[in-house]
Each structure stands twice: as C-alpha cells, then as structure tokens.
C-alpha cells in the first residue's frame, strides 16, 4: 500500500471536469434568450459562438466554467460565471479569470492552467488542470 503525495516538488495539481448536453443550452436560449447569454457568457465568448454550432460552443464554454469552479473546491464561494472566460490562442483554448475569482485564484496559489474541450454528437465536455504553488498566507 502506498499513500500518494498531494503535491510534487512543492506544486499541487488540481483537476476539474464537466459535461453539458447541447440540448440544455438550446432550451435555455429558447426560454431566456439574451438574458441567459448575458448572465453566463462574456461579450467575447458570445461573439466567438455564432452560426450553426452556436450551442456546441456555448455548452463547451459552460462546461469549462463549471470545471474551473470544481478546481476552486470551495462550495460556499460565489461564482459569477462571467468572471471565467474561455479565449483562444490559435487552436488552443485558454482560461482568463477576472474580478473576485482572479483574486481567489491568486490567494490559492494558481500558477498556470490548461484547458481541454471536446464534444460528442450531443454533449460538450471540459477538463481543466491547474498547477498551484504555495497559497498566499492570510
């Protein structure tokens, strides 16, 4: 029996994942339209998700936001979805945090992140990996 370490060389690795059905996003768009978009997505994300695959892109971005929330591992923390943004660097999706979540990530010692998005014919999924150094002392 071995007890696996929770950190390597002083760095903790955190992982979050989530799956979102396209149909859920399509239903939200049909029921709440712009109200849904404005509550959850940044202007840039809305601009990036246009055309016939709009629900696919939005579902993947929502999955990424929920995956990030799981990485924080603080259920009583407020998570304004718009403070978590998926951007692109060529083919690579990237994460950008702002506001209270950017501050909290800094306090938790987040150093770098990696985001992977995928989808099947009916679901989108996201995996987020974050490397943390020492958390800031309070």
């Amino acid at each position: 029996v071995i007890s696996l370490p929770t950190e390597v060389d002083g760095h903790r690795i955190r992982v979050g994942c989530d799956v979102v059905p396209f149909a859920d996003v399509q239903n939200s768009l049909a029921a709440f339209g712009d109200g849904y978009l404005r509550k959850v997505f940044t202007t840039s994300e809305i601009d990036d998700c246009q055309g016939s695959n709009r629900a696919h892109g939005l579902a993947a971005r929502f999955a990424a936001k929920e995956a990030v929330i799981k990485v924080f591992a603080e259920p009583d923390m407020a998570f304004p979805w718009r403070e978590i943004e998926v951007t692109r660097d060529g083919p690579l999706p990237l994460l950008r945090l702002s506001g209270s979540l950017a501050e909290r990530a800094q306090q938790q010692g987040w150093r770098s992140s990696s985001l992977s998005l995928s989808h099947s014919d009916c679901h989108a999924m996201a995996v987020v990996l974050v490397v943390c150094g020492a958390p800031e002392s309070d």
Partner: protein
C-alpha cells in the same frame, strides 16, 4: 406563497427526476438531479417570477441547494428591493 412559486419554477426548469412540487424543503436538490446548468435556468425564471436580480455575491452552489435556501435568498433580495 414564496415556496409555491419556487416549486413551480423548479418543476418547469429544474429538469429533476422527482416532482419538485413535493420534495422536502431541505432536501438536497443537486442530489435529486438538479444540474449546474439547470440551476441557471431556475435562477433566470426566479428573477422573472419575483422581479428581482440575483447579484454576483449570491451565485453560490449553496443558494440553489434546497427550496429552503432559495426561499431565504429570495426573501433577502425582496427585502433589499422594498
């Protein structure tokens, strides 16, 4: 009256496997099948039903974890508006 409106919204938008009209007001809605994405719909429908807006600071998992929790947050928001 507040709980009745909350339950009506959960039935319409919660997409849970159980009848939200009859669940215990302290039952864990996530355990009963409420997903994070469905909680967005529930929040938007509650904003319409009560003519309120959920500010960023109440966008917590725990806010939507039970009928009782939702009721408490709405009561506070309605009071703040009045």
């Amino acid at each position: 009256v507040i709980q009745k409106k909350i339950r009506d919204v959960l039935v319409a938008h919660g997409r849970m496997a159980v009848n939200a009209g009859e669940v215990d007001d302290q039952a864990d809605l996530y355990d009963l099948g409420l997903t994070s994405h469905a909680s967005v719909d529930v929040m938007l429908a509650l904003e319409d039903a009560f003519d309120i807006e959920f500010p960023d600071e109440v966008l917590k998992k725990s806010t939507f974890a039970s009928v009782r929790n939702i009721e408490q947050v709405i009561q506070d928001l309605v009071k703040a508006v009045a």
